[in-house]
Amino acid sequence: MAQVAGGDRDAFAALYDRLSGPLYSLALRMLDDSADAEDALQEACLQIWHRASTYDASKSSVFTWAVLITRSRVIDRLRARGRRLRVLTQMVEKEEQPEPGSASATRSASDIVEKEDEASRVESILHQLPFEQRQAIELAFFSHLTHHEIAARLEEPLGTIKARIRRGLLRLRGALQSSQII
């Protein structure tokens, strides 16, 4: 990051190669539109390039910092284009399809084993979370809903939603730390 902050174009290209996959996937998942996702990623990368000198390693990892920036740009686009409602509707349709726990169950064991990179390990950990916890967390993270909106959407008490998110996120932290991913 220091090299990027110093204006090193090659260093930035290397950073892009490392992060663009998950960042683009995140943007595409939230926007559900490849052109929008590309634009959001481009805006995020330019912001990373311009603000690299403000990055503080004591506060977050580079990946976390990049995710925060990308997600902010995506949320701006969702707000600006008023497409949030459509995205949420599509989220509902998608989430109504799988049964709790079926995602990991239907995923072939060989597929998981073959993914030895960090992304596949994280994905595996995520799918080990109880469905209700993952569902609440993903609604907050990908759909940018507040806990009030999530409670209304899932027709659950607010306290239940808060507990699910807290437990899910703490369990995720524990699993990621055990795997030395974070």
Binding site: L26, L28, S60, F141, R173
Partner: protein
Amino acid sequence: MIAEELQDQAALYVLGALDSSEAAQFEGQANANAELQELVRQLRDSASALAYAAPAKTAPAELRSRILDQISSETKVAPFPQERRSVMSWLPWAIAAALAIYCGVLAVDRSRMRESVSTSQQKIETTARELVTTRQNLGAAQQGLVTTKQDLANAQQSLAAGQSDLANTKEALAATQKNLAPTKEDLATARSAGSLAEATIVSLAGTPNAKGSSAGSIVWRQDSQTGLIKLSDMPALGPGKDYQLWVIDADYKDPISAGVVEVSAKGVAELRFKPTRLTNHPKAFAISVERKGGADKKEGPIVLMGTVNA
């Protein structure tokens, strides 16, 4: 140990699931709690891993070229060399001074705007008050207009009634004049003959007991205690009834009979009369309906009457 409630808030905060006021409140708490800050950092790292939960997609190759071309075209501001720092050390101070001046301008502008807003508010309040007054005046004027219209209608109604009364009066006057005309002719004749030097003329008009438009006149001569009576449009009386002439004198309690007046089939009468008693102060003459042949004292209803002018 961080309270469970704060852990809830931290988890929601890193996911962006708190609303703006809740997030601001949480940040205030986190700033004063190092342990909470560390939890936030860890949870934020964990939350960012959720990006891997999205279906893995590869960004288009042309996007990479586009981004890299864009950053290449921009002039990246490199860190200033050490030896130039002393030269450019005034730059932050210059920026700060410029900002201070700008803030001053903004403060003056803000003050002017406040004054302008205050003036505008006063104008609005004044206009609002004037509007209320105008509305009140308008209401009063409308009420006055309604009253005036009512008065006008009443006046028109009164005028119509007055015109009707005037027409009736004119009609009655014409009838009286018509009745009086022969009497005047008689009076003129009598005066020319020198027989009525001191004569009084009395018009007889119908009372509420009268039927039809009967009327009459009397020429009364005080010195000789005689008179001439003429009647017209007198309704025919039933069998056993006669018209009787009376003189009402202030010196007598009862009217003094002046005899029965015979009316023709055409309802007219003309005769000379002389009261049965001396009358020094005649006040009025009257015609009543009495029994056939007349009565000593008035008994029936008076149908014609006329007062003697002093």
